[in-house]
């Protein structure tokens, strides 16, 4: 019971903070404009002559690799900078509730961002017959994938009291995990760390796991992958927050 009371109180506060901060709106506007621009300019939506949004979704991993660290970088480092982490840690709230509430609030903002992105779906539907089921799967997969990038960003934010540093760390990890599946990257890795290790790294490719969703296919393997990624990085965040309690304050 106390877990949920703490969770909801912190979730509401975080969401309120996000929604009253201009950065959130800049972030949403940035995502919407960049995704639409990429869809038409790089994805060639009109040239393809098909009313589907696969060209819209194909750029999401790369956009998230930069945008999610930007969204997450304030979550913990700002608390440390302001000194409010000390107040939070002195509350009778479990550390897990604290981490999950902050993550859930940021993920809610991502959901809002994707809901606003459905205007493109409506626009394309006016141009021709759209496979609504496949598009819905694409949006759900994109939301799940965004959660994985967000969890990486939160772990980086908890690891560093500097927002810039946490952004750089999270973006580097995110870009690495996004690019891991590209043939050129796997060739480079194979030369650097050996074939087996490169193969293992490529198996962690976010891009590869999102491919199915992009085509409107629900893959249990991909769902498990993204959920595991979220759980693993939130566990890292939890350890860092607990570590701050040990000596980082």
């Amino acid at each position: 019971m106390r877990f949920w009371q703490g969770f909801w109180a912190i979730y509401r506060r975080e969401l309120f903070q996000d929604l009253t901060h201009p950065v959130a709106y800049v972030f949403i506007a940035g995502f919407l404009s960049a995704s639409v621009l990429a869809t038409f300019q790089l994805g060639g939506l009109f040239e393809a002559g098909r009313a589907d949004l696969s060209s819209y979704f194909q750029f999401h991993p790369w956009l998230y690799a930069v945008l999610m660290p930007a969204l997450a970088m304030r979550t913990w480092s700002d608390e440390v900078r302001r000194g409010t982490l000390e107040t939070l840690l002195a509350l009778p709230v479990s550390r897990a509730a604290l981490v999950l509430a902050k993550f859930a609030a940021a993920w809610t903002l991502v959901a809002l961002m994707l809901v606003l992105g459905t205007t493109l779906w409506l626009g394309i539907a006016l141009l021709g017959p759209v496979d609504h089921g496949a598009t819905l799967v694409g949006f759900c997969g994109s939301f799940l994938m965004a959660g994985a990038y967000l969890a990486i960003g939160m772990a980086a934010s908890a690891a560093s009291s500097s927002q810039a540093m946490s952004f750089v760390i999270a973006t580097s990890i995110s870009v690495l995990l996004t690019a891991a599946g590209l043939p050129i990257v796997s060739t480079i890795f194979a030369g650097l760390i050996g074939d087996q290790a490169a193969l293992m790294l490529c198996a962690l490719s976010i891009q590869d796991h999102f491919d199915g969703f992009q085509r409107g296919v629900i893959e249990v393997r991909a769902i498990v992958f993204f959920m595991s990624l979220i759980a693993a990085w939130l566990a890292v965040t939890f350890l860092f927050v607990t570590n701050k309690r040990v000596g980082g304050l």
Binding site: G6, R13, E86, L89, P92, V93, R245
Partner: protein, 250 residues
Amino acid sequence: MLIIEGLSKRYGGRQGVEPASFTLKPGEIAGLIGPNGAGKTTMLRMIAGSLQPDEGKVSVMGFDLRTQRQSAQALMGYLPEHAPLYDDMTPRSYIGFLLAARGFTRKEIAVALPLALSRTQIEPVADERICRLSKGYRQRVAFAGALAHNPQVLILDEPTDGLDPLQKRASRALIQSLSPGRIILISTHVLDEISALCTRVITIWDGHICGDESPEALSARTPSGRLEDGFFALADARASLNAAPEVVEP
């Protein structure tokens, strides 16, 4: 009872707080005094549960802070140093948030919140954004957050920091009025505060507790009978102890 047993903390190779032990009973107002960097804030953070000690134990009304952290923290109110607050909130929403996180229902918050606002005299600014408040008001908002849930143990790190003389007087009166039945531990380096408020003085120096007595006993350490002189006498004794050459076994 607030029982501190062998509480210690190291920062890298430096000893932040040497093993410290003391017990506080309800009704006591204990002042933790010492120079800047003596380890006062580290000690209070460990007691409040926001900093994990290397060794030692904190027991709050029978709840072990290490194994029953949430139960122990539910009984404590903590005012951190420099009154950290969320600037985008109002005092009303901030205190409401703290109460909700502590598990208070809406009905309970509707009772506790106005009481905390009036006790700390921040009603006139209750709906202004915290970023627009003066340092004195910010300090009182943080104070209100620490006492809103009616804690049995109050831990206050420099509670009158940034307050003008009138506000200081009001804050001291409030602390005294809260004292019956509660344990209050205050960190300060203002000796006036000790003589005005405390029933007990714990002196900390270089992370080491070098005195634990009543303000009267501390004052009586020197012929002048002044608290300030008693504190300086303790400081000098500590300094000469540090300067003494180490005894080497033959």
